[in-house]
Amino acid sequence: MTEPLLKVENLRIELKTRGGVAPVIDDLSFDLMPGENISFVGESGCGKSMTALAIMGLLPEGIGRVASGRILLDGEDLTTASESRLRDIRGNEIGMIFQEPMTSLNPVFTVGEQIAEVLRAHQGLSAKAAWDQAVALLDAVRIPNPKSRASAYPFQMSGGQRQRVMIAMALACKPKILIADEPTTALDVTVQAQIFDLLRDLRAQTGTSIILITHDMGAVAEMAERMIVMYAGRKAEIGPVEQIIDHARHPYTRGLISCVPHILSTVTEERHDLTEVPGIVPSLRDFGQNRCLFASRCSHRTQECLDQRPPAKVFANGQIADCWHAEAM
């Protein structure tokens, strides 16, 4: 068995809020193998982006910090790495694309410059070489006419094109890991398909590992090998995608899958009501309590759930569910 490329151990991230310090990520552990595609799903605000930012060492300054745990990249702990070492890693060994292609590119620089800049910073390329390389990268992400489009500004491009520029930028230095934080939520379905297609192809070519953050189960099913379901800053369930979809062990995962009206291959007249997960996500204030945070919305709730934090229960193929009743599911 190969060594994991990225190993996150008992990660705890704390955020300073008006109500005090809250653990926005609470005891999260997972591995990422070389070439693997792992996916984070969960409701808004459950801490998916925070995890990604923690790996990048980009938690909001003065607000968020890694309180405990380790993030090992090839055995090197990123939580204790110096700022300059982190700078070396960012954009070089780990690339990242963000949710909002509209706002994530700097509006006042050409896209070519924004790509070339990474190459200059990390690979010491000359201005000319970096630019040429940027044009090549634009070509690789299927931007038509890359030579002239390189001198375009972000506002002159469509959303899909911008997201492809982001991808080109993140992949410019052939990173080992690509973190994609909801890369398609702002895009149309047809464009989303283009992006996913592109990511798949690039992965096939470069062998980059991908951490895909999304709330779309369908996308997870199509893109990832393993998935991590997050709830209120905690891992709810982790395991191979197909296995979880077929047989989720955590009631939240189940709800997440069944409350979405998925498009079906065979349409019938009959339509059932969607499964509802009642209530809303606990607020940041309630994160970190020693109980099952999902209990308030769970129909399987027992006293246990309210008294103590559920243990991680391990099943076949590395499926792990943090639920008192996981076996019963």
């Binding site: 990048m56 980009l58 982190l86 700078r87 070396d88 890693i89 960012r90 954009g91 070089n92 690339g95 990242m96 963000f98 909002e100 706002t103 994530s104 590119l105 700097n106 509006p107 006042v108 620089f109 800049e117 990474v118 910073a121 990390h122 500004y153 506002f155 002159q156 982001m166 930028m169 993140a170």
Partner: protein
Amino acid sequence: MDQLRSTLIRLAYAVILLLAVLVLNFTMLHLAPGDVADTIAQSMGGADETILNRIRADYGLDQPFLVQLGRYIFRVLHFDLGYSFFYNQPVTSLILERLPATLLLVLSAQILALLVGVVLGVFSARRPNGILSHFVTFFALFGYSAPVFWTGILLLIAFSLKIQWFPVAGMQDVTIEGGFFAHALDIARHLVLPMITLASIFLALYSRLARATMMEVLGSDYVRTAKAKGLTMRDVVYKHALKNALSPVITLAGLQFSAVVSGAVLVETVFSWPGLGTLAFQSIIARDTPTILGILFFSALVVIVGNILTDLALRLVDPRIGGRR
């Protein structure tokens, strides 16, 4: 083509705007009792009625209002701002004689305010709770809240009277011997106090705005992207963030052009700076209509040119401007 068209329409509009400024003020000046003949008489220690009537006839002040207005507009349309009754000089030459002093004062104050304001704003935005940040906030409020003439007087007392570092008044010491450099240095010495005084108000505005936008920009998605690319903090702040934070400051600076001309009136008065401001004040007091109108015309022109320059500057820092409204 579209660009050209809209530029032309813009220019045409600017011309109409200027004319409107002139007509309005001409009318207002006409409505007031008395006229410049009285002031001329005053400057002569008194004059009898025949002289007054003579002066009025000479300057066409005895004509009906519409005739006077028509003549004036006609002349303006022929690029002639008329003749200063009071200073006995073509208005254009009178203003052009004073304009350099005002421009020097106003531009140097603006540049000083912009440079220092942006630098202070950026530094304090990076440490929003640091000492410097509080200092900037305080300093900015101080600059905004103190009456500019009062600041000027206090500076005068401190730096011209108590410690005699800078001269009291005027723009240059004509007795100075020496070449260009000596004169430039002399003007610079005269410039320091009025420039600082005038800059203090704008510095306040700019540093506050720069701090606020910089803080916003530093929290924006693209700055996060820049960090995620592994760029150095210097590149992130001074390349990615600053260029974005500049445009609101430039926009604000552009809006200040008219305020700058006005602010100059007070500062020039305090420091006897031989610029348009003092001329404006004296002309208003003297009811020297052509000069007042000429100055209003020039200041409006300065504002309009300032707006165009602002647009150009914005285009430089923000490529989106050309594409959108």
